[in-house]
Amino acid sequence: MKNKSRLLSGPYLFWAISFIIIPFCMIFCYGLTDKSGNLTLANILSIATSEHSKALSLSIELSLIATAICLLLGYPLAAILAHMKNSSGVIIFVFILPMWMNFLLRTLAWQTLLEKTGVINTVLSALHLPTINIINTSGAIVLGMVYNFLPFMVLPLYNSLTKIDENVLNAAADLGANAFQTFYKITLPLSVPGIISGITMVFVPALTTFVISKLLGGSKILLIGNVIEEQFTQAGNWHLGSGLSIVLMIFIIINMLLSAVFDKDGEGSVL
């Protein structure tokens, strides 16, 4: 078995090369050539056109806001959950369950909730409160991002917070640290792998989404994901689409490197 068992990873090696590595290179092949096959940087440089750079900067802005909100909402939540030892299994289960309903439908349901005469506004006006009007704005897109990706933030945070040894916290208290010092000097640094992993898990899908912007942003707001998707499904310009994807991948790779540096042991992983 010793020598032969190594061969068992052969099929995956073949699979990974054909369906992960080669396709990855294909994006570069298409992105760096034009339709007649000549080498060009035009596809990548087209990110500088005002339409594309506007879409990219809006995507970055919205996904950063969504990531920050997810972190602010998710950290206390993960901390509360990590502290509730017996019920945490049930509660985690409750927070994961929404993912079993199709994500397009869940996002669409926000339309019904947010519309001018939607559920939320009906309740607000019944209570004589000012109504909110965020459907088809970037606010609705951020809400959709936070809604869809919050669990991706909570789970890595929860995993890294439950791994903190209680004795370390007790030692800090015994040595005279107050609650704030304990949190700032111990809990926070020890949960950094979870924070980084959570940020990666939220930022990448938020940056590249085209579905949420399409469903909640009306058709007026274009994110970089929408621009790329259109190149492939409508405009049929795969070269341009690939070129823009390469630009997008720069951000993704930065993110991957960050998580590789801060989370060497995969401590903050979702699984």
Binding site: M1, S5, R6, S9, P11, Y12, W15, F19, I20, I21, I22, P23, I27, Y30, L77, A79, A82, H83, I92, F93, V94, F95, I96, L97, P98, M99, W100, N102, F103, L105, R106, L108, A109, W110, T112, L113, V119, Y147, L155, E166, L169, A179, T182, F183, M201, V204, P205, T208, F210, V211, L215, G225, I228, E229, S245, M249, N255, M256, S259, L271
Partner: protein, 275 residues
Amino acid sequence: MKKRAFPGINTVLKKIYIVLIFIFLYAPILTLIVLSFNSSKTRAKWGGFSFKWYILLFSNRDIMEALSTTLSIALLSSAIATVIGVCTCVGLRKMKSTSRSVIIGVTNIPMLNADIVTGISLMLLFLSIGMKFGFGTILLSHITFNIPYVILSVMPRMKNLNTPVYEAALDLGASPIYAFFKVVLPELLPGILSGFLLAFTMSLDDFIITHFTKGAGIDTLSTKIYTEVKKGIKPEMYALSTIIFVSVLILLILVNKPEKAAKDDVAPPQPVVIP
């Protein structure tokens, strides 16, 4: 721990916070369930309580076809991914650490990469080798993004494997394959099972990668919903997703209950987590 971290926050506030997040996460789901009983065809107004979409659902051939495509792709892709993934994990154990970390690194690409990029890259691959877009291309793509989930679920179990027991089996005359099935596989089983479930769910819920690799004439539930967005979603879809949601809810409650009794297991069973 928490008490020291935020001393001012007492239990009541914590509970309120959890409930608020709970409402945020479940409001859309409740909306969909309510809409599935709405006898009016539009989302905008309430036309009275009715079961009619549940009855019409089963005679809607389009939706039933999409459902069967979705389920067969999810089942096939997760089963194949599980076999390949488990073999890989067994193989990785005997590999040099450098080649092992290369493989793990490659495995992380589809996990960390954006779905849109994965989808586009696979689409370009199928285009350039002239493969016909359809069931086959969707299946290949789903296997591709499912294998990493299986590997990442099985790997931790593999690391904690009780090697002396396996060696004892060999010393006592078991063939390596017999020993593998009798000793190693049962120990890996919880990891394999959660990997399979995870892969199944990821496949079931995927939209973006399917969108780019499906071709015309075939639809999964996700892509069907996406094409219906402009025309207005058929209320049968709400009925179907309510049925799926409620059955998964019941199933998960049944599956997770006995886990409590087995809590003192050596490696705690991983909760079924669906990112």
